[in-house]
Symmetry: C3
Subunit: 307 residues, 3 copies
């Protein structure tokens, strides 16, 4: 593995290797970090801000003893303003640092960067395109919380048409056995055909529902997402209605099996009520913490695979 | 001590412990730092910019061998824009880092953060509320420059109604013996009643004057502050007058005892003239430097109290 | 050497010392860095953004084991907004860090900073004034690529009136023997009289041409620069014409000797075509990489000259 550009580059053996490493990294972090990447430098080039993702990557690098150079608004501040191409920037910063973490507003930007970079590139989200480390940490959280992925029933809730995370997660789940997915979304923002076709081709059982409560009792994983107001710009009434229906509150938690978990890519607004946070099945903060371990695992694979 | 949220959490024994540690930290810094906090990560989450405070904290962490992840405009860049609460942000970033340093535009924000953070929180200023590390470094500077705090006469000058520093310093001075405070301010921005009542209850002698020169000859400490033009928006004439009167210049320095000191939380505009800077009694740049030692002391107390 | 403020402070022996050190630093970086500056802190205070220059300095510090505190928009965020002078800022941040790297929008700012700073100051560009580390890395690139500087023929192309880099490089080249310089520029932005006079006084042979192709066959170095559209605000027709003429493309490369090199301070827009990048004579990305080695050399000279 030379770059991390898209979820599709991961097959099941590679995923299992990443998750095993992430488990090790959890121990490394708990014991105060190590010096595996001492002397190595990560550049975080963020063409659009995403403070949490950036800090998660930087933490991962530092827990392995590495250092970080960073810009959180490359779009405004860098030579991009003067007309420099991403390809040129990547060649130059790639001659400073040992790994580039790139967040960009254009789909495909990470792939273009990888084609020109002298050092490994990790995609930290490129516009409406890919955000593979989020997809990996989502799947790792299921593995870590439930102990297995084969055979689970996943309910995905919210804006499934525009949500990058639910699309990638659906794709990766199709690599596992006996998966059942239920999509729960307002019709205006239901899961798109391309993903549904892919699931069909891979033999994944899926269905579409609009009543969240009816599907909770048989779920192993509820993956909740934020419904963005701007998607309903021309249907304000529908937004308010949708927002009220697709909420995880205490009442919803009572319908959920004892061993199920609730996930969310965060940030959340009010689609999971704060009084759910103390429920042991609320896995979303552990999920965010898992991002550091998964990113540590990827950094090891890219920069010190033999160590 | 689990968090540093407000000046009121410090009693005299704790202050003396912090100051003794700060003295040690001065030596540590002079000898090139140590590795007490190697492998530990500080997150500086600044919801409003304060470059100097941020750099002072980050220097403190690095002098102890630690590392830093940072954002200097969390308000604009973070998930706050998408509606995420401070409580959620703190739980997430607190799962990355070992200590959070938070600057916020809302009074009480640091306390709210501390209630939810899995790791220690240090308040680096929350709006019109508290800025406890500034208060500590002010008091430490007096201790360090004069060798004692009991029995001193302090003149506080400028905008005492809106100045967070003079309010906190007054509060902390009340923990010492035989303190005399003189407040020198234009009537429009005099010291507020709550602090005056507190001093009265603690038996601290204080008075209010408008003639700066008359009180300089008996001062041990002159604490000068900036008068903000915007406070006089509806009284422009008064601003210009006030600005001319409450100035520390060479002439004022001649009235000051030989062993007194002049302090200022900085930045200054012209309320202390640059030609005063070379006077050995001008302690304000040493005061700023002391901030690093006090913050090192607090980091040690929070993260490695037994070391 | 206490500060790095302007190109004129470097004489030939010092340049040769810097370049010899930069060669060593190239080895240090290739072998994973060292710990020469462990425990030392660099503050990068950028009053105007220049992400690449900042990241290059920060990489240099980290490759030597040091740490970095930074602000990339000191102008907007720092106490400058409240009226604090650069001199005050420098005294304060100079009490935190061991070396200050300053980028400023005002000519002469670095010199003013150096006069007040308790620690070494490096000028990372002060407005239309100086950018000495760029000048050093340009000259080092010639030395490194060609093996010598004496006796070379340099063609400088583009906006020579406003280009800081070509002015500084001309100045430094005058310290060497048997240099020939050809200035190729639209008349509106030709090389200014002050530099031409200086070259004359130093006995450097130079000429001015408008036909780029005619001078390529005898060049050792072509130093291309970006022509800024805004310089031709009142002559839009001239800009389009100029832009088309002064371009390095494959056809131009065919006119260039086999051992010549093409340099550019970057960012480029389209004045060097991307299909030239793979030509071994295209030295501009190596030139950018050299910036790290030159800055490592300067840091060693300033902070650990005896090590």
């Amino acid at each position: 593995m030379r770059h991390v550009v898209e979820s599709q580059q991961f097959d099941r053996p590679l995923l299992e290797r990443v998750f095993a490493l992430a488990n090790e990294m959890r121990e490394v972090a708990a014991s105060g970090g190590n010096t595996l990447l001492a002397g190595r430098i990560m550049a975080t080039l963020f063409y659009e801000p995403s403070t949490r993702t950036r800090l998660s990557f930087e933490t991962a690098m530092m827990r392995l003893g590495g250092q970080v150079i960073t810009t959180e608004n490359a779009r405004e501040f860098s030579s991009a303003l003067k007309g420099e191409t991403l390809e040129d920037t990547v060649r130059i910063v790639g001659s400073y640092a040992d790994v580039l973490v790139i967040r960009h507003y254009e789909s495909g930007a990470a792939g273009r960067a990888a084609a020109y970079s002298p050092v490994p590139v990790i995609n930290a989200g490129d516009g409406p395109g890919q955000h593979p480390t989020q997809a990996l940490l989502d799947l790792y959280t299921i593995q870590s919380e439930l102990g297995h992925i084969d055979g689970i029933r996943v309910v995905m809730v919210g804006d499934l048409a525009n949500g990058r995370t639910v699309r990638s997660l659906s794709y990766l789940l199709a690599l596992y056995q006996d998966i059942e997915i239920t999509f729960v979304a307002p019709p205006a923002v239901g899961m798109r055909e391309d993903i549904k076709e892919h699931l069909q081709n891979r033999g994944v059982v899926f269905s579409e529902e609009q009543d969240l409560r009816s599907v909770l009792p048989t779920a192993d994983v509820v993956y909740q997402t934020r419904i963005q107001k701007e998607r309903f710009a021309d249907r304000p009434g529908e937004y308010d209605q949708v927002r009220g229906i697709y909420v995880i509150d205490r009442e919803a938690m009572e319908l959920l099996p004892r061993d199920a978990i609730v996930m969310h890519p965060l940030p959340r607004v009010d689609e999971i009520r704060p009084d759910v946070d103390d429920d042991p099945r609320a896995a979303y903060f552990r999920q965010a913490a898992n991002g550091v371990f998964v990113r540590m695992a990827l950094l090891k694979l890219l920069l010190a695979p033999e160590a």
